[in-house]
Amino acid sequence: MSEQVKVFSKNRSFLKIVDKSDHHKKMMQEFFKKGKVSTHHRHSKILFLTSQGKLILQKRSKWKGDNPGVWDKTVGGHLFRNETFDFCAVRESAEELQIPSTVILKKDLSQALKLVDLDVMGLMFLLKLDKKDISERKLPSGKTWKEPSPTAFYLGYYDGPIRFETKEASGFRISTLSEIKKEIKENPKAFTIDLIKIIKRWEKFIKPLKLK
């Protein structure tokens, strides 16, 4: 089944609904021809931590067109037509790693933690809706290309089981921030540019939950 997404112009007005992979190809071609992309999609990107503050990362499967076989944030994806950023975050978490989750306000987190068993479901909150974010992707050839993409960044917490859809992900890991930072230093190619940026930008949030 083809996935339909909304396309926006440079000044963020809605243009049309298109097939995701077709349009993606067009964007990439435009980038390599002109050095930039004139349209964009919207994304939700989520970094889930365990309650101990370890990062849950997915290994992108070797069949993915962009960034194949490298470690990435927990989940992320394009907003389908008629989707909100929040719903996209919930859908991607369920689809890619079968993490049942919901989005709450950051100020409600400690209250929500009293009700929700993180072994059973994940909780996430919006870190920032960055309308000017740029997503940088690496192709199997090693070439990179960039697309402007308004992105909602979420931070989540989850301690439960994970099942990966093998077309999307070929594995997952649970590691401490210091382990990941060390590996990024030694072998940055093993990680998506996205993940490296997310860690740098939101590092101060990557810590264990303080349970009251």
């Binding site: 290994k59 439960g160 099942r163 093998t166 594995g171 890991r173 649970i174 590691s175």
Partner: protein, 223 residues
């Protein structure tokens, strides 16, 4: 889940080199002595009984676990899906089931012959894992590497299992930090190209059981 205190009390079955059961020993004390013996004589003269499981998903890809930083031996190396010692009052079959639950958080059942095949065909493999014993190796040399490049070789009796599971996984303790799926051809190539990333176990056992794994993949594809 086993607590740390319980782990220090863990009792395992110990055998002499003729495979005669000597009795139950505290695991930590036993290994301390065994390492000392290896250091002195260059070999160890007592055996433990272990299990090793090679698990596939329903597409026939092999799950490998990476040993986390908490493991002193073979640290950060990719290894078989599950490995464990047989404890007091346990059969190898029971050890596999216990360890599947304790390490990766899933329920499994050990079956033989037709039951194994029928279960693969008729049940939802997202709900539980199905494993089958291949054989027991009476003289297996387990190689443990340390960060300082030194290694020890401990003789073992080891029972090899193969199985299938397609459901969710949870690292119940912190002994595993990565789980990843590999195609059989991919892992065989990887073992040659990047041997430093994998345990000696994999280098011996994957080629050894290649045919068994291929047979199971064929069965899964025909499902």
């Amino acid at each position: 889940m086993t607590s740390t205190v319980e782990l220090y009390k863990e009792k395992i079955k110990v055998y002499n080199m003729q495979n005669k059961l000597l009795g139950l020993k505290n695991k930590f004390q036993f290994y301390k002595k065994l390492r000392e013996e290896f250091k002195k004589k260059g070999k160890a003269t007592k055996k433990v009984h272990t299990i090793r499981l090679f698990l596939l998903n329903k597409e026939g890809r092999l799950y490998l676990s990476r040993r986390s930083e908490l493991k002193k031996e073979n640290t950060l190396l990719f290894d078989k899906t599950i490995g464990a010692h047989i404890r007091k009052n346990e059969t190898p079959e029971y050890t596999v089931l216990r360890e599947a639950e304790e390490e990766l958080g899933f329920a499994a059942v050990a079956l033989d012959k037709d039951d194994f095949v029928n279960t693969l065909k008729e049940t939802d493999l997202r709900l539980f894992g199905v494993v089958k014993k291949i054989e027991t190796l009476k003289n297996f040399n387990a190689v443990y590497k340390y960060k300082n490049k030194k290694q020890v070789i401990f003789p073992q009796i080891t029972t090899i299992f193969i199985g299938v599971y397609d459901g969710p996984i949870k690292f119940e303790d912190s002994e595993t930090d990565i789980i990843e799926l590999f195609d059989l051809s991919e892992i065989l190539q990887e073992l040659k190209e990047h041997p430093e990333k994998y345990t000696e176990d994999l280098k011996i056992l994957i080629p050894k059981y290649k045919k068994e794994i291929q047979k199971l993949i064929k069965l899964l594809k025909s499902k």
